[in-house]
């Protein structure tokens, strides 16, 4: 009988799960675990703040489809993970987080660095555990990975009291999980699928609304086939970007608050929404009772709780998107929808995404257009949260599945930089571009050290407008231009990058944008580009909060009042 320490059992279990990389930060209660990691055949990436460990595991998972793993010590290490775990939860990302914990005999005594991280993470994990008996450890790890990656994926946390990982026990990794309360549905009810096909075949103005679930399910090819077979245009949620080629004639781009006009018009005029792997977030629907008010709604989702949660659904199909689409496609007839497709073509022609060019100012949209020209198709773009994120979502054109990594549900500023670390480790041969604002960049800029230490060739692009731009935009439009605490004084980002040994370039003239991007892409190592953009550039179109999707503000309307 081979007796192994709990820490060793954990490492062996991770190897069984195929874990190749862990993002983490050591501390008192996980020293035994770090001692085992010292010579384990698993890469450990030392971040500089535990939040970054969780975001890096998240970015790794989104870009590879594998389960991301992070470790933090007890107490503050564990609480620092919380934002990262919540972020993964909101966007259904499979992450397994390990936290150290006080020894079992001290739990409940407020001992040093003791915190109830299981209690804290109850509402932001798919499931969580505290392992108080070494005999449960291997089973719990097996269950955690199974729960994280199956069904609707999500984060799972395992809290490890230090005495448990020091205890020796007979290691045996279970073959199977036994979880009577967890049986995700994959197949989709065939009667419902047939009903959906019938409605689709008889619709005149259908729109496919594809979300992150399509990417998670690896169903992009099926999505394309459905669209082409049925001649149905495709709109995306933010999380769905990359699931359908944005250059395709059937693509409508993003729907919602900052969606394209033609996507929002199409949804509003449609007689049938085929929603796949979406959850009808309020940023998508605008005013709920006006959302797609002329349409029947088919909703395909793996999570039954999403059906009828925000929007009343006519034909729900619970299951895996890929599986269901494969059953649905053979039932779809090719219907000529000339009139509808022509209308959409006109909307695309009459209401394209557009912005005002002004002298030599660098318009953020212009930077993205340049990126479209020079980035290779296998690039991964990671964003932070704010205006730059929306401009990226609107203007990027080359995206493939798992190539647009962005914080959707939680909207976490500070996500971009650490997530790009995870994406680069997961995809060492692909270009990784991290687009941030000056605000969000500063929320985790300590990770420049991680990038520098590992010589990760991430290209960091800051859209620097010296303002917390999205909030400023709301203040301008809805709060009488009272810029309460949104105009910020920034450090010299070039000097900061250089202090970490990272090459950096400040760009202030429109004519230098192209050259700067090319220089960064050709540089074999990390590089930061600080683009100074106008402070008053806003994201348009915009559906004001609580308005219907048709009520979009446009930069031209705003200009009329202020400048023209």
């Amino acid at each position: 009988m081979a007796l192994l320490s709990g820490a060793k059992i954990l490492i062996e279990s991770l190897l069984k799960e195929g874990v190749e990389i862990i993002f983490g930060y050591p501390g008192g209660k996980v020293i035994p675990l770090y001692d085992e990691l010292y010579d384990a055949p698993i890469t450990h990436v030392l971040v500089r703040h535990e939040q970054a460990a969780a975001h890096a595991a998240d970015g790794y998972s989104r870009s590879t489809g594998k389960v991301g793993v992070c470790i933090a010590t007890s107490g503050p290490g564990a609480t620092n993970l919380v934002t990262g775990i919540a972020n993964a939860y909101m966007d259904s990302v499979p992450v397994v987080a390990f936290t150290g914990q006080a020894p079992t005999h001290l739990i409940g005594t407020d001992s040093f660095q003791e915190i109830d991280i299981r209690g804290i993470t109850l509402p932001i994990t798919k499931h969580n555990y505290m392992v108080t008996n070494i005999k449960d450890l291997a089973r719990v790890v097996k269950e955690a990975f199974y729960i994280a990656r199956t069904g609707r994926p999500g984060p799972v946390l395992i809290d490890l009291p230090v005495d448990v990982i020091k205890t020796n026990f007979d290691y045996h990794y279970p073959e199977k999980v036994h979880l009577p309360g967890y049986q995700p549905t994959y197949e989709g009810n065939y009667m419902q699928i047939k009903a959906a096909a019938e409605v689709i075949n008889n619709s005149f103005r259908p729109v496919i609304f594809a979300g992150g679930g399509v990417i998670i399910s690896n169903a992009s090819d099926e999505l394309k086939t459905l669209s082409k077979t049925g001649k149905i245009p495709v709109a995306n949620s933010l999380m769905g970007l990359g699931s359908f080629p944005l250059t395709d004639e059937y693509s409508l781009g993003m729907v919602g608050m900052h969606g394209t006009k033609y996507a929002n018009y199409a949804i509003s005029e449609s007689d049938l929404i085929i929603a796949i792997g979406v959850r009808f977030d309020d940023r998508v629907t605008g005013r709920v009772d006006k959302f797609a008010s002329k349409a029947k709604i088919i909703h395909i989702d793996i999570d039954p709780a999403e059906i009828n949660k925000n929007i009343k659904v006519d034909i729900p199909i619970v299951g895996d998107a890929k599986t269901i689409l494969n059953k649905l496609i053979p039932l779809i007839k090719t219907v000529e929808r000339t009139e509808w497709l022509e209308t959409i073509k006109e909307w695309k022609r009459d209401y394209p995404l557009s912005y005002e060019h002004r002298n030599s100012n660098i318009k953020p949209q212009y930077i993205i257009e340049k990126l479209n020209e020079v980035l290779s198709e296998n690039s991964i773009v990671v964003t932070d949260v704010g205006q730059h994120q929306m401009w990226a979502a609107q203007y990027l054109k080359f995206l493939k599945p798992r190539s647009f990594i962005s914080s959707g549900g939680l909207g976490t500023m500070g996500f971009g930089l650490p997530a790009s670390i995870g994406a680069q480790f997961g995809n060492p041969d692909r270009p990784v571009i991290c687009i941030s604002g000056d605000g969000g960049f500063q929320m985790n800029l300590q990770e420049l050290a991680t990038i520098s230490n590992n010589n990760l060739p991430i290209k960091m692009i800051i859209f620097n407008n010296s303002t917390l731009g999205m909030v400023r935009q709301w203040q301008e439009l809805f709060f009488n231009e009272r810029y309460s605490h949104t105009l910020i004084k920034n450090p010299d980002f070039i000097k900061i990058a250089e202090a970490y040994g990272i090459k950096a370039l400040k760009v202030t003239d429109k004519n230098d944008v192209d050259k700067a991007i090319k220089e960064a892409l050709n540089y074999n190592g990390p590089m930061l580009l600080d683009f100074v953009i106008p402070q008053d550039e806003n994201v348009f179109p915009m559906v004001p909060e609580g308005a219907s999707l048709e009520e979009m503000l446009d930069y031209r309307k705003v200009l009329k009042e202020t400048e023209i």
Partner: protein, 167 residues
């Protein structure tokens, strides 16, 4: 607002009660009462949860409960076809002179006297909610010192096999 009674079978795991109660508060669902106890199988517990809400809320409550890994089964009990019990212990001000009168009232409700002191009587009563409410109402005349109630526990009535719906 409709009152619904859910019978929820859960794994007998640590923190399961926190998971359930946390879910209700986070999702803004209103619990009227919650009762938990062991079942015929030691690995499972059964909760009887009384919730208030419209049909949409109820649908979400059930689905969100099912999402919890430790929840095995959620059944909404049909209030016309279930056995429901609530139990209360009621401590009433009652001196010697009043006892006979009190015992008469308690007997009508088939309650039991489970504790006596010179100044108080503690009554145990079991039944459906309305019966207990009625007794409490009557005992108010004596002066109620303290009440504790279990909340509803309930099970489906077993139908005779001939009337069971065949698939």
């Amino acid at each position: 607002m409709m009152k619904h009674i859910l019978s929820v079978t859960v794994s007998n795991q640590p923190a399961v009660l926190a998971r359930i109660s946390g879910l209700f508060s986070r999702r803004n669902f209103n619990i009227l009462s919650l009762n938990v106890g062991e079942t015929e199988k030691p690995e499972f517990s059964r909760m009887t949860i009384v919730v208030e809400g419209d049909d949409h809320t109820l649908e979400q409550v059930k689905k969100q409960l099912y999402k919890l890994i430790d929840v095995i089964k959620v059944t909404e009990l049909n209030q016309a076809n279930m056995v429901e019990r609530d139990m209360a212990l009621i401590k009433v001000n009652c001196n010697k002179n009043m006892r006979t009168q009190l015992i008469q009232v308690v007997n009508v409700f088939r309650g039991k006297i489970v504790d006596l002191s010179p100044e108080t009587v503690t009554v145990e009563v079991t039944g459906d909610e309305s019966k207990i409410n009625a007794l409490i109402e009557l005992l108010k005349d004596f002066g109620i010192k303290e009440v504790v109630r279990t909340g509803i526990v309930a099970l489906d009535r077993e139908l005779p096999s001939t009337t069971k719906v065949k698939n």
